[in-house]
């Protein structure tokens, strides 16, 4: 009876449960970061990694697509970590940003979005070709998936790709976003990701909003608004370029 009541309370107040749970997870992560790595690996990087592991376990346990959030008592994690709250918090990080810094890196930030979309698209397309795909629609859809997991299905639907190819494009995009989340803090120093300008380029090249959001949070939260700013234009640019110009290039080459 005790467990039933507790489960009912936790599920009924899902978002509040998520606040408690994520709060505990943050505490645990900063504790582990301090004790096991002496702060070498940032607490938020540990927290994001634990989050992804929990998402994996949740997905395996329920067979759903929302990770931990598919378990009833953790459904609030899905609300807290959903696009609405994420975007609200991202906008809030822009408070206090100086316009001068944005202006100085403005054009290279804009250019990095276009370069980033084309680059990821053609790498995804090359991988598809090397795995034996010859149909320009399938090649373009997988290429678009390597941009983000939204650009993939949008492109696939526009071009009339089969549903298994669209599923592959989503998987490619998900892989990208998970890798950006986990990998960014490890390579940040080597690629010079330590100032607003490189953060804007990073956001533009990577483009996955969730990947960039988590990657910068784990590297240096001060850089978040700069990277998020450019990343937010990426999916739109991808949905514009992939089914049109980039597809035409693939069709001309294939």
């Amino acid at each position: 009876m005790l467990t039933e009541t507790l489960t009912a309370v936790l599920s009924k107040n899902a978002l509040i449960t998520a606040f408690l749970f994520i709060g505990f997870l943050m505490w645990l992560s900063y504790f582990l970061s301090e004790k096991l790595t002496r702060g070498q690996i940032h607490g938020s990087a540990v927290a994001i990694t634990i989050g992804l592991v929990l998402a994996y376990l949740g997905g395996q346990y329920t067979g759903g697509s929302k990770g931990l959030a598919d378990i009833a008592i953790f459904s609030g994690v899905g609300i807290m970590g959903g696009a609405m709250f994420r975007d609200f918090a991202i906008v809030a990080t822009a408070f206090g940003v100086k316009t001068d810094e944005l202006k100085k890196a403005g054009w290279i930030g804009a250019a990095s979005v276009i370069i980033g979309v084309a680059l990821s698209f053609f790498i995804g397309a090359l991988v598809a070709v090397s795995f034996g795909y010859t149909d320009p629609v399938a090649i373009s859809t997988i290429g678009a998936g390597a941009a983000t997991y939204i650009v993939g299905p949008v492109t696939g639907t526009a071009l009339g790709a089969s549903s298994d190819v669209i599923a592959l494009s989503v998987a490619a995009g998900l892989t990208k976003s998970v890798l950006v989340m986990v990998g960014t803090p490890f390579v940040a120093n080597r690629i010079g990701l330590n100032n607003p300008y490189s953060a804007m380029i990073y956001g533009g090249l990577m483009g996955t909003t969730s990947g960039v959001a988590a990657g910068l949070a784990a590297t240096d939260p001060k850089l978040v608004p700069y990277g998020a700013m450019t990343a937010t234009f990426y999916t739109g640019a991808g949905c514009l370029l992939a089914p049109s110009l980039l597809f035409l290039i693939v069709r001309a080459l294939a």
Partner: protein, 127 residues
Amino acid sequence: MIIYGVALLAFCMLAGVFVGDLIGSFIGVQANVGGIGIAMLLLIYLSNLGNKKLQFGPLTESGIHFWSAMYIPIVVAMAAKQNVIGALSGGWMALLAGVGAVVVSFLLIPVLAHFTPAAERGNSNAD
């Protein structure tokens, strides 16, 4: 009042997403084009107006700072709801496409960073 800051933030976000959706349908793509970026620019613009027109009280500011500080926990929750199984279920091709795109994009960051004025590269390592 704290709610003024939260409301201002909400206004910026909704206005940005609205404009982003309009741009999306205007150029004929089924996606929001830069809505959150536009919302951020709007908030930056409003907060840089300074004393001229808009005066931010400290409590108004704390309504925005709260959400800014909640950013990392929200991102952790976001990580916990990712479809990690889906990412791994696409097989080698999907994995390679995703990994390849990330690795090459990482490598290009220092190259593009050279195009920002040298003095502005901050404390980046000597390369």
